[in-house]
Amino acid sequence: MSKDILSARNDFPILSSQVNGFPLVYLDNAATTQKPQSVIDAISNYYSTINSNIHRGNHTLAIQATDAYENVRKKVATYINAASPDEIIFTRGTTESINLVAYSFGEAFVKPGDEIIVTQLEHHSNYVPWQLMCQRKGASFKVVPFDENGDLDLEILADMLSEKTRLLAVNHISNSLGTINPVEKIVRMAHAAGVPVLVDAAQAVQHTLHDVQVIDADFYVFSGHKMFAPMGIGVLYAKEKWLEALPPFISGGNMIDQVTPEKITFNVLPFKFEAGTSNVADVVGLGAALDYINSFDFQAIQAYEEDLLDFGEELLSTIPGLKIYGNPKRRSAILPFNIEGIQHFDLGILLDTKGIAVRTGQHCTQPIMDALRIPGTVRASLALYNTREDLEQLAHGIERIIRRIRS
């Protein structure tokens, strides 16, 4: 039996805390999610019972820690339906995963005159690494714009894709507008042009379809901390052929087969890409987070969150002077808005005085703000433990602030 989503709240100790004298209303989930007790306990238990450095040890702790770590690799592979656990590389997070690909792919496959395509909807972490790689390699950096609804302009993408294109990097869900991009279609378009695709799933893997074989992504990246797992851990999935073809990024212990002053040979997959001591504790925490998500029916999570988003969108729309940004075909878990005459920054601080946590600013998406010609937004973002009451608190808080300031 799957767990009831309305019970989720109780699993997160921080959600019952008080902030500035009010019960915490946490609506900053796109920045990072809170952690259920089971994840917190998994880390504590790990350190209290089996902590060890892994892969090279033959004492019991080392073996138990290695097993625990490798089991999570399998769990991740199952969660995103990778063809093999060897396609799962543990990184520090989405940003490092993207940098790994930008660097290694760039070294192996990008020459002067080539082109890399990203979109105007990207987080800086899926924008700047490609831009810098293009600078290094003498390649051109192309940006697919979004339209007035916040949807990507796929006709422009179609025109951009050419035999010069080496790679397309696109997010599945925009952290700033909440747009759910049609990644399956985008991948098909790119593949038809012979172009591999990196899908930034930082905002998607916990909210929507995350089957890498259905999406047919060549590279698929996400962060644990946005899906109830600890900070400090993330994933790079890549099709095995790419992992075989790419040179390593970070080098050092564990990724080496043989090394002499003259010559180096690398370890097999996935170890070739996991240099240095692995973050076993946080990987174990990631495993607990996947168990937690799997304790629910994923479709029920999706339905619940969609309902919550609709509710929130309607509720906010009734507030005079409040403008919600974007009107994409499909939106996920994110409500970006501003109030006439009140800076996003002020609104964030004033909501915080009532214990309501939202994020304000550019959300690491300056290209989006530039396109919208605004300095920033207030962003309320949802997770499965949020409720209609949270959104009502938000709406009341905003209304109260408007009343006070306009008075």
Binding site: D346, T353, R404
Partner: protein, 141 residues
């Protein structure tokens, strides 16, 4: 006496005023009121070169030196930052350059109000004060 009260006296008054508020909300509302009472800055002065870097919101400062005193007008598109500007205005506008150079942020910490801004090491408040001190130092040359 037409002389402005000392920085310390103004500080104490503000601490007393803010001490009357029960909670953060009231403190911020009071701060915003202070900002709303701030004399308007000439719109023509809100130029790129008068923008203070390092703030999450736009803040413009126009600073002069008169008789070794620091005189300025300022504005922000954030109501809260404008409130902070108003406090800086009340405390430091027209003060002798030496006083401005001695000003520090412990007062803001005492108010507590600033934890939203002051936790960032390179924050708007630091940047604004740095601007004023730069002008004060020039003033003494």
């Amino acid at each position: 006496m037409s002389q402005k009260p000392s920085v310390k006296e103004i500080e104490q008054n503000l601490i007393d005023d803010f001490g009357l508020m029960d909670n953060w909300e009231e403190k911020y509302e009071y701060l915003i009121e202070l900002g709303q009472d701030l004399p308007e800055m000439d719109a023509a002065l809100k130029t790129e070169d008068r923008l203070v870097k390092g703030c999450q919101s736009s803040v413009w400062f126009d600073i002069h030196c008169q008789d070794h005193k620091v005189v300025f007008s300022a504005d922000s598109d954030s109501l809260i930052v404008k409130g902070m500007v108003a406090i800086l205005n009340e405390m430091l506008n027209g003060q002798p350059a030496e006083e401005v150079l001695k000003a520090d942020l412990t007062f803001f910490e005492t108010l507590g109000l600033w934890h939203h801004i002051s936790s960032q090491r390179s924050n708007g408040l630091t940047a604004m004060l740095a601007h004023l001190k730069l002008a004060a130092a020039d003033c003494l040359k």
